[in-house]
């Protein structure tokens, strides 16, 4: 078998594929952050908590009401999105126009609050969620065993990412959104309800996080603290991609998944740090990120 730096080619191929799958996750999460920052200029530190709420509500809906995975895929993001709209309406609106640091602190507080309350109710060991039957098992690719569910995650995550990018960059609604956040008074003059638009945009970004949470429920431990670990990584991805760049978030997400996967193969202990290393290097040469507009 041919080897690359002491790693068999087949193993490397498997790792690359896993990297892309994880990258799709990062892309989905950082996309929501980028939407919220790009359009609303809110640094949403509650994003990890919203991802957690997506996963937790999937499990809770199933346990309490028998809601299955497919229904949860729609219902959980809608519920969490509604929570997002409430947070925007009652809290974030009050600090609109203030320095970014206020939104950061406020959303961080909200995240801690949610995490604390749910920890008291559900503990930290994790809630159990079974893989839907249709995804049991996987296929043998020769170089690795690929669970069907991972394949599904990559397909659906990329579809949602592309759909979101398309809606914001290429449709009329997207144009309103961008214009509304650019010059809200002008848009209001045109008879567009800008505050509503902002609430809905925040809710939509939150929905993307919750959707990633639903996708995560069958494969990761569902716990009230699951969002806090991933949040910082996702922030790094957004910074590397360029704060607010929608396409940048998606591409960087996948790229970082792959880089992390390769690190896990060649030098595992560095795998949690490699994304931050990339961030440092990128910021040194391109302070506004890979795909960000020069300020």
């Amino acid at each position: 078998m041919s080897m690359i730096f002491g790693v068999p080619l087949a193993v490397l191929a498997g790792q690359l594929l896993i990297g892309v799958i994880n990258g799709a996750f990062y892309a989905l999460l950082s996309l929501g952050l980028a939407v919220i920052f790009g359009l609303l200029k809110i640094i949403n530190f509650a994003h990890g908590a919203m991802y957690m709420l997506g996963a937790m509500s999937t499990v809770i809906l199933f346990d309490a009401l028998g809601v299955n995975y497919w229904v949860a895929l729609f219902v959980a993001p809608l519920l969490v999105g509604a929570v997002g709209v409430l947070i925007e309406y009652f809290l974030l609106r009050r600090i609109a126009g203030q320095d970014h640091i206020y939104s950061l602190l406020l959303t961080f507080g909200v995240a801690l609050l949610l995490q604390g309350v749910l920890t008291n109710i559900y503990g930290v060991s994790g809630l159990r969620y079974s893989m839907p039957d249709i995804f049991q098992g996987g296929m043998k690719l020769g170089f690795m065993f690929l669970p069907y569910y991972r394949l599904w995650v990559i397909v659906i995550a990329l579809l949602v990412c592309f759909g979101t990018w398309f809606m914001i960059e290429k449709t009329k609604l997207g144009a309103y959104l961008r214009a509304g956040t650019e010059d809200s008074q002008l848009m209001q003059g045109f008879g567009i309800n800008v505050p509503l638009l902002i609430s809905l945009t925040y809710g939509f970004g939150v929905m993307l996080a919750a959707f990633a949470g639903v996708l995560a429920a069958p494969i990761y431990s569902v716990t009230p603290v699951m969002g806090s670990h991933i949040l910082i990584t996702v922030f790094a991805v957004v910074v590397i991609g360029g704060m607010g760049s929608i396409g940048g978030a998606i591409i960087t997400g996948i790229l970082m998944g792959v880089i992390e996967g390769l690190t896990k193969t060649f030098y595992p202990p560095a795998s949690s740090a490699v994304i931050f290393l990339v961030m440092v290097i990128v910021l040194m040469f391109r302070p506004s990120g890979l795909f960000g507009k020069e300020a």
Binding site: P8, Q15, G123, V124, S125, G126, P147, Y220, K264, S271
Partner: protein, 404 residues
Amino acid sequence: MTMMKKLLTSAVATAMMVGGAQAAISDNTVKIGYLADMSGTYRDLAGPNGMKALEMAVADFGGKVSGATIEVVSADDRNSADVASSTVRRWVENDKVDLVAGLVASSVSIAVSDILEENDKLGIISGSAASSITNEHCTPNHIHYVYDTYPLANGTASAVVKEGGKTWYILTADYAFGHALEADVTRVVEANGGEVIGTLRHPFPTPDFSSFILQAQASGADVVALANAGADTTNAINTASEFGVTQSGQTLAALLLFLTDVHALGVDAAQGIQLTTGWYWDMNDETRAWSDRFEKETGVRPTMVHAGIYSSTMQYLKAVEATGSDDAQTVRQKMMDTPINDMFAKNGKIRVDGRMVHDMYLAEVKTPAESKGEWDLYKILRTIPADEAYRPLSESKCPLVTSK
């Protein structure tokens, strides 16, 4: 008159002295501080429910010992040695706490036992894993009660090697606890004729294990061992199940796994995993009866840590009762002199290094077909006798042992 006064005074003084000797329990209160992770990673295996177990012991004593009131206070150490140190310092220096119980993260336990030694108070550690707590970090002021890394490696690793798992691949959490466990396991595997063909140090914590599990699969080792704990272990097991590790013929060995972890995973994902435990709720009528009481209080079945907290608190209170004293050394000596026979341990013994040695158990997680309920999770495969399970005193580096 003067004579009379003298007589009276001396009578009163004598009476006071006699009274003082009878009530050798300082300020007529036995105060227990319960310190544990109440909100973080180790919350469920010890945490608030450990406090309930402790309160059960106090209630079983009627809230009084040797005529003195038993008082319980608690605090969240947030898994921080700093937070724990300042709390315990305040407890022993200002709040007259006699015993510190709970104690989960090994770093916390080691920091706290130093402060207890300085102030000559007593600590009983129920949740920590590091075997160094009664080895190089031993003090005359603490007792390590439930389990440690020595039997974890001894029990699981030697059993799995003897069953034919000759080649091992170890996934290790990249910090002190993981390294120690990896070293212990390697020693045991090699001593039993097996071989460690690869180790992989993963960052702590790691939410996604897919890449590491793939590497473990590609290694072709008979056994994939997990030298990590908590969420890392459950995530790794989940991923191993998703990627069909056991279906493809490899054995999964989790070196530290609590009942709450297995409950969270469910038998589907965890079935067939072998583990070492200090206690299991469904071993006999006595353990079941106590666990029923515990479940009434908390809504969940107890882990070995919860049971250990109850048992050790009882052992402590009995020693206070017997000696009529809350002096740390008097009580510790009495605890050492009294074998432990309760729902937690049979013929358990506290050694001079503070290690409570008792039988440990090799267990296997049941299959979905075998499991009759949400907490019906383990089959006990083998009892590991106390002498075999723990580090023998002849190998001890504890000054209390070596200076003798």
